[in-house]
Amino acid sequence: MPPIIRMINLTKKFGNLTAVDHLDLEIEEGEILGLLGPNGAGKTTTLLMLTTVIKPTEGTAFIGPYDVTSESDKARTLIGMAFQDPKMLWVSTPWDVLNWHAKVCGLSTDERKKRVQWILEELGLWNERRKTVHTFSGGMRKRVETAKILIQRPKIAIIDEPTTQIDIVGKHKIWNMIRTLREEGSTILLATNELYEADMLSDRAAIMHKGKLLVCDNPKKLKDSIPGGDIIEVVLEKDIPKKSLEEVKKINRVVDVLATKPNHLKIYLNKAEEMLPQITEFFLKTQAPIKSIQMSEPTLDDVFVHYTGLTIEEAEKK
């Protein structure tokens, strides 16, 4: 079966800034693809090109059989998007926003009412359905935005940071709904800068940085691609001297060391459980008291660090 989304050399420039730089990516039908990267990586611009809101400067993308540059009207019939920032007039009520969205997407009156009531109840907004959204918190508005896609149930659901500003209970609810959406037949492109979210939901994760695609694979393979299968995280009482940092790298089985903060180290190594006493002893000798120490497996955050040399926070600052 051909991929349901194909991006071919997809590029968007705003003046001298290249927001998306020659992106080639394919998404299979029924897949959840997590598009990862810090703010400014080009994720949202990519999504806006796929939904035909903005036109590519170069290259193109196919939504099913339709070219977004020449068959944008047809492409949009397959797509639904929940935006990063809630897109609604603040004088509107959640009921009006969702009811009209369902109507413009072609749902029958009965189905529309049923789905709008269902989603408002599920997301805890039923009692607020007649209040204008300007009285809502950021999290509540975000829930209304995400609800649009959940009632539309499009062939391709494009979701931009669905759980930003939403509490942990709400996050789990929305994650479950996204999984259900896929089970009902939607292909999902999920942009996020929350690596845990991508790890939880995605079949594959594509990492973007400065408009370019760095890598795309399933999260497990991405994590396995990091040299040293385990991580020991050490937080010290005081900042570690540069010299000591170099010495840690020389310890047997240590593959790499990253100082995420001056007193916070991530040591990538093999067989962490056997190495733990040796690492502890090393810091005791260097007169750098350990505040805390723990073993962990690599996360997508580590994958991002591996490919860019930066943490997500550092990348956002740059």
């Binding site: 806006l48 939904t51 809101v53 809630p86 897109k87």
Partner: protein, 261 residues
């Protein structure tokens, strides 16, 4: 292929939004009543009987028919401000992502913007008709339908300006200037015969002149009308078509070209 259902769904949204502008709607109604009850009556006294002899009806009747067109125009251009409100809240991007074509979107918005102000103006329009009286129902129906098209054209015009300028401050200033020119260089406020020839040249091709003359023709005060009603209907259709077409082009080129400023 254009879907009428999609056009109506888009129009319906603008109709619903309009109801939220309660303050504007109340103020516009008060403005209209003040124009009729104060300006219209007082100026009518000043001009008697010279104007009546020249145009065959009282200035009050002439003015009342013209001011309703001015009200229809000024209420309809309000949709341009909606575009800026939507740009502020990112709603334009949302509308562009929906499964409706750009043609359906612009047509729906023009119709919604026109229809909502037409519905709003209707009670005042009936009040003016009560004051003037209707002599030929068929003529009035032709004029009435043409005013619908006129309102759609004004909405398309306002949408086109808003999308071209992309700055609410500039739009506001430009609209003030356009309003001064388009209303003053038309027959809404004064008969064509009193205008200098070089003003008449503009006024004869002004959509507000077409609308005001058609309305007067429909209301039976034909003595004031110099424009052929068929030409006026054609002019309004042309006005509507040009600005709907421009609106569609601008949605595709300017907005999709790089989003809102």
């Amino acid at each position: 292929m254009i879907s009428l259902r999609n056009i109506w769904v888009v129009a319906e949204r603008d109709l619903r939004t309009f109801v939220n502008y309660k303050f504007m709607l109340i103020m516009r109604a008060i403005w209209f009543l003040a124009q009729i009850a104060l300006f219209g009556l007082i100026v009518n006294k000043m001009f008697k009987p010279d104007v009546e002899l020249a145009i065959g009806t009282s200035y009050f009747n002439f003015y009342a028919a013209g001011i309703i067109i001015t009200l229809l125009y000024s209420t309809t251009v309000f949709i341009g401000y909606d575009i800026y409100e939507e740009a502020d809240h990112g709603v334009i991007e949302y509308l562009l992502s929906l499964p409706v074509s750009r043609k359906e979107l612009v047509l729906g918005r023009s119709i919604g913007g026109g229809l909502r102000s037409f519905i709003y103006v209707s009670p005042m329009l009936l009040f003016v008709l009560y004051l003037i009286g209707v002599t030929n129902l068929l003529q009035f129906l032709v004029a009435f339908i043409s005013l619908f098209l006129f309102a759609f054209g004004v909405a398309g015009f306002s949408i086109t300006l808003a999308v071209s300028i992309k700055s609410s401050d500039k739009f506001d200033i430009l609209l003030g200037v356009v309003d001064a020119l388009i209303v003053r260089l038309s027959t809404t406020l004064y008969p064509l015969v009193y205008m200098p020839n070089y003003y008449q040249a503009f006024a004869r091709f002004n959509p507000l002149t077409f609308a005001a003359d058609l309305f007067r023709w429909g209301a039976g005060i034909e003595s004031t009308v110099l424009t052929n009603p068929a030409v006026a209907v054609f002019g309004i259709i042309l006005f509507f078509s040009i600005f709907t077409f421009l609106g569609i082009i601008l949605h595709e080129r300017r907005l999709e070209g790089g989003g809102w400023q």
